[in-house]
Structures are given as C-alpha cells and as structure tokens.
C-alpha cells in the first residue's frame, strides 16, 4: 500500500472507487486491480454474478437423467443436473431454508429419487429447483408446522439461465442476460462452433490446480501472443513456434472474448523471429517425438492452434490434437482454481486418443508449456501484492484495441481492459 493509497483510505471514497473512476488507459494496468479485495468483490458481482455467461461443464459429463455435477461460478457453488426430460438445469447450491450448500459431491446421480434432498431438514427439491416437500409442514398431531401463509412456491433452489451450445454448458445468474450466441458475438461464435460442432464428445480426464494469482492474469496469459515464443522454450527448442507464423488476433464486438489463431511452424529458427532468445538450444532433440506427433483433423481447416478466451470464466483450447476447456474459478483476490477438462470426440479411434493423451504432456500442472504459465502468473502476483503502486505495460503493437493479422501485439489484453473499465466504472 502506497502512502497515497493510505491517504485515500482515510477519505470518504474508497481507494477502489477512486481507481475505477479514474483509470482510462487499457495499455497501462495498475497493480491494484490484482490485489484490492473491494475491486475483486465488485468483479464477482458485475462479471460472474452479473450479465455474463459462465462455463459450467460439458453435457457429456451428465449422460443420464439424474446425473449431476457441482461446480462454481465465481465463488458460488452451483449444481448442474440433467432432468428426466433430458434438459440441463443449473441451480444455486443453496437450500432456501437455512441456506446450506446441500450437494457436496463433485459428480453424482440422484438416482431414482429424482430429487435433491437437503440433508439438514430434508426439504425436497425437484431437479428444476422447485420445492416440493417440507417435513412437518402441517405440524405433528396438530402442533407446530408452518404458518398458513407459508408458500413453497417462492422457495425453490434458484435456477440460473442455461445455454447448451453443442455440448458445452454455460449459465448466468442474470435473468436478463443476452442470448448466448449474441454474447459470443459474430466474430467469436464461429470458432466456438468449430470445436463444438455437434460431434459427440468424450471426456479424457481432469486436471485441477490452485494458482496463487488473480484470476485475470490467466485471461491475460491466453490473450498474450507475445509470450509463447519467448517463455515457452519447449516451443522454440523443438521448432514448434515462430513469431512470423501466420496468425490472427480476433475479439468480439466488446473486446472481452478473443481468439488467438495460428498455424504451427515447421521448425528451424532465425534471429529476428526468435527474438534472439539465447536459450534456444539447437542441440536438444526429442528422443521420442510422440508428444508432437500431430495429425490434421478435418474440422481444423487452415488453423492448427486456436485459443479462445470466453470472458470471464473459461478458455477453450485447441492446440493441434489437444483439446480442453480450462475453467477459471476465482477463490480470492489473489487465488484461483484452474480446472482442465481434456476431451476428444466419441468417433476418435484409439490412435487419435493416444495422440491426444501424449500431447497432453504439454498441458496442465506438469505441462511442458502450461506449467510455465502457472509459474509466471504466481511470479506476477507476488510482485503486485508487494509493489502496490506498480503498473503493467501493454503497449506492444500500439495502444489501440483492434484485431490484427499478426501476433506481435498485446491488443487482446488492451481490449479486455477497455471492456473491463466500461463495466467496472462506478
């Protein structure tokens, strides 16, 4: 906390309010947005609990009627459940009696009961949230029970808006949220449709990490085409990345979502495009190339790598044959959980499944590439937490927020913060 911060706190207006009122430059980012608990609380409110859609899972995770999972939107636990009619409901995981988180298991099935029953006093909810039973409602032997004007009708588990997009499930707390397709917008939606193309999916497994950094640092990381060829020596060393490879930076009409689109390089190096990276070790070779044994899939088209950041909650990864959703679950201002769901298509043959699993060595908590992203995010947070007057620079490729046909730019970060400012302004 700088003396200025301190002084501010003594006034009537909080430091957070002042910062959010006055911050106008998306290319210069104040460290306080990563560390101020008041700003974080407002982010939860406006992004995760407000008029935005958040990722909650894949339909294939709930194959049968009665199957459910629990996950989080922001810090709030929600239940995702498949109703007998096949519909997916997303419900607040919060009993309306005394407010308890009534479901604990990450995955499960309600079985034949077709009900969620709160363990504490056994209030009984249908899978669409409706409250259908309250023990002793009419008392026992004429004694006690609920008052005459007590109505079950308003006491269901709160149901969220749900969008199922070819197998991907999103939800929103806001009843007035725009339709999901509009939320993505015309520039982003085609890329969503590219991966979630209606082909049935198969979950290959999960990775879960707790990363001690502010959640936005992960969004920035995947909107940053500047780092992969510099941080990820694996890409460079084994010739998988060049700064001059064909690529596009696309964002939605608000600048919040983005796609980093590129075609993997064929190997080799030259001074300009590796940025003179001195760790480039020409003599290193992979003994076993199976982690980079790529097979082109028909649905790719010309793009071999597409990283989608769907604000605020998820990244949709296609890195050649490795596919995953990466859910961002904020835990506190300086921490988030990062949940990877690797998947393929039901139609994959064994060789393709093996290929996806081999390539998974690049991703997740032990990933040759992704491990580094988690590390630098923690390095960032450590610094922001202590150099609180600090500022980050995002001026590569200029100071505007336009899409580009190259990757030598931080435009996607700027466009996200331009949107952020517009929503967070007091």
């Amino acid at each position: 906390m700088t003396p200025k911060d301190f002084a501010k706190q003594s006034g009537n207006e909080s430091a957070a309010t002042r910062l959010l009122s006055s911050w106008m430059t998306p290319h210069r980012i104040p460290a306080a947005i990563y560390t101020d608990p008041e700003i974080y609380a407002l982010e939860l409110e406006r992004f995760f609990y407000g008029h935005h859609w958040s990722y909650v899972g894949l339909e294939v995770e709930l194959p049968n009627s009665g199957d459910f999972k629990t996950t989080f939107i922001g810090e709030r636990s929600v239940i995702v459940v498949r109703a007998p009619d096949g519909e997916i409901h997303v419900l607040e995981n919060r009993c309306r009696h005394k407010g308890i988180r009534l479901v604990q298991a990450p995955f499960g099935s309600v079985g034949d009961t077709r009900r969620f029953i709160c363990p504490y006093h056994r209030w009984c909810y249908k899978l669409d949230g409706k409250l259908v039973g309250v023990p002793y409602r009419n008392g026992v032997q004429g004694q006690g029970g609920y008052p005459a004007d007590f109505s079950l009708k308003d006491l269901g588990l709160v149901r969220l808006q749900v969008a199922c997009y070819n197998g991907a499930v999103f939800a929103s707390f806001d009843a007035d949220v725009e339709p999901f397709k509009d939320y993505l917008g015309p520039t982003i939606e085609p890329f969503m449709r590219r991966t979630f193309n209606g082909e049935p999916l198969r979950v290959l497994g999960y990775n879960r990490q707790r990363i001690r950094g502010n959640w936005k640092l992960m969004q920035e990381n995947i909107k940053d085409p500047y780092h992969p060829g510099l941080l990820h020596a694996f890409f460079i060393t084994f010739g998988l990345w060049r700064a001059d490879q064909k690529s596009r930076m696309v964002m939605d009409q608000h600048g919040r979502h983005a796609c980093m689109i590129s075609a993997r390089n064929l190997g080799g190096q030259n001074e300009e495009v590796t940025g003179g990276v001195n760790s480039f070790q020409e003599d290193l070779k992979l003994s076993d190339p199976s982690v980079i044994d790529v097979q082109h899939e028909p649905w790719w088209g010309e793009h071999t790598v597409v990283m989608q950041t769907i604000f605020p909650s998820v990244i949709i990864q296609q890195q050649v044959n490795s596919l995953s959703t990466r859910q961002i679950i904020p835990v506190s201002v300086d921490c988030f959980d990062f949940v990877w769901t690797h998947f393929g298509y039901k139609s994959d043959d064994d060789a393709m499944t093996r290929r996806r699993l081999n390539q998974a060595n690049l991703f997740g908590p032990a990933g040759y590439v992704s491990l580094e992203d988690g590390e630098v995010i923690e390095f960032s947070q450590q610094s922001h937490a202590t150099y609180s007057g600090g500022e980050c620079l995002a001026e590569l490729g200029g100071r505007d927020c336009e899409p580009t046909e190259h990757m030598v730019t931080e435009t996607l970060i700027r466009s996200m913060y331009q949107y952020y400012q517009s929503v967070m302004r007091p």
């Binding site: 990450p106 979950v203 290959l204 497994g205 999960y206 990775n207 879960r208 990490q209 707790r210 990363i211 001690r212 941080l231 020596a233 694996f234 060393t237 070790q281 290193l284 992979l286 003994s287 076993d288 199976s290 982690v291 959980d337 690797h342 499944t353 699993l357 081999n358 998974a360 060595n361 997740g364 908590p365 032990a366 040759y368 491990l371 580094e372 988690g374 590390e375 630098v376 923690e378 390095f379």
Partner: protein
C-alpha cells in the same frame, strides 16, 4: 503373504526380494529429492511407463494423466525438459513413502503398492504439501537382477495441486 513354503532358501529369497523392493522405493524417492533427476529413467525398464494421475481419473477410468511417459525416450525427454527447457521457481521435494506391499505376484511381475506424501519447498516460503497418494506398480527383475518398474502409476488424491508439478511424484 504369498510365501511359497519351499524350504529356507526360498524363504530367504523372498525376504531379500522384499528388502530389495523397499530399497527400490526409497532410492527412487531419494534420487528425486536430492535432485538426481537423471537417474529417474533408470528406475524403469526400457519399455516401462509412468503416470502421475489424479485419483479422480484413476477411479473413474479416465485415461488422462498429468504426466505420462512410455518408453525410455519419453522418460529422457521429460528429464531434458525439466532440467534444461522449462522455467519455474526452483524447489526441492521430499517424499515419505510407506513400506511397499506385494499385492500379487505372477508372470514374472510383482504388483506392489505403497503410500506416499510429498512436500515441496519453494524459495523464501515454508514447506508445503505437494501431494499425497499411492503408487500402483508393476515391478520386474531386470537385467543384472536389479528391480525396475515396468509400470508405475502415482495416483494422487490431491485433486487441487498447488500450481505446478515440476518433478515426477
């Protein structure tokens, strides 16, 4: 206990093998903890495989592993990438591994199991838990009579890993 009672010689052989098994497990942990990463592939047979896999995947039959090697080449690549390629905060690990138990013997393989907890220490920070879990192993007597893993799966309970898994479990 699957001791086939065939006289003291066989019984001694059995015992010696149990101690050798314990030594294998401890040496494996020790070489990781002291940073002798280069020795890691040598604990496996040439065609051996390794997985560090979340228990939720293991239990539900989902094939994904956070770390996966099959065949000496992939082991050596993992070592190279850890030692020479990746960027991460330096750290030390410390395993504590229970005495391995023989679950089953057959086909020249020992199916063994042991429980582990692993701590890591990062610069300027207190030691913290990295992961707990169990090893599900297939051990064979390799060339020269040395015990090696044909298959080792480190099934970790710790669903939420504390950020990075730099070294094998």
């Amino acid at each position: 206990m699957n001791v086939v009672e065939e006289g003291p010689g066989a019984r001694i052989g059995y015992i010696i093998q149990r101690l050798a098994l314990s030594d294998l497990y401890q040496a494996y942990a020790d070489s990781l903890d002291r940073g002798d990463l280069e020795r890691w592939p040598g604990f496996f047979t040439e065609d051996g495989s390794y997985r560090a896999q979340a228990r939720e995947n293991f239990d539900r039959g989902l094939p994904l592993a956070a770390m996966f090697c099959q065949g000496r080449g992939m082991f050596q690549d993992r070592v190279t990438v850890i030692a020479k390629v990746m960027v991460y905060a330096p750290r030390t690990t410390q395993h504590v591994v229970g005495m391995p138990r023989v679950i089953e013997t057959g086909g020249g393989e020992i199916h063994a199991r042991a429980q582990f907890c692993v701590y890591h220490t990062l610069p300027h920070e207190p030691t913290a838990l990295l992961a707990v879990g169990r090893y599900e192993d297939r051990v064979v007597e390799d060339i020269g009579g040395r015990l090696r893993f044909r298959e080792r799966t480190a099934v970790y309970d710790t669903l939420l890993l504390p950020n990075s898994l730099v070294y094998p479990l």
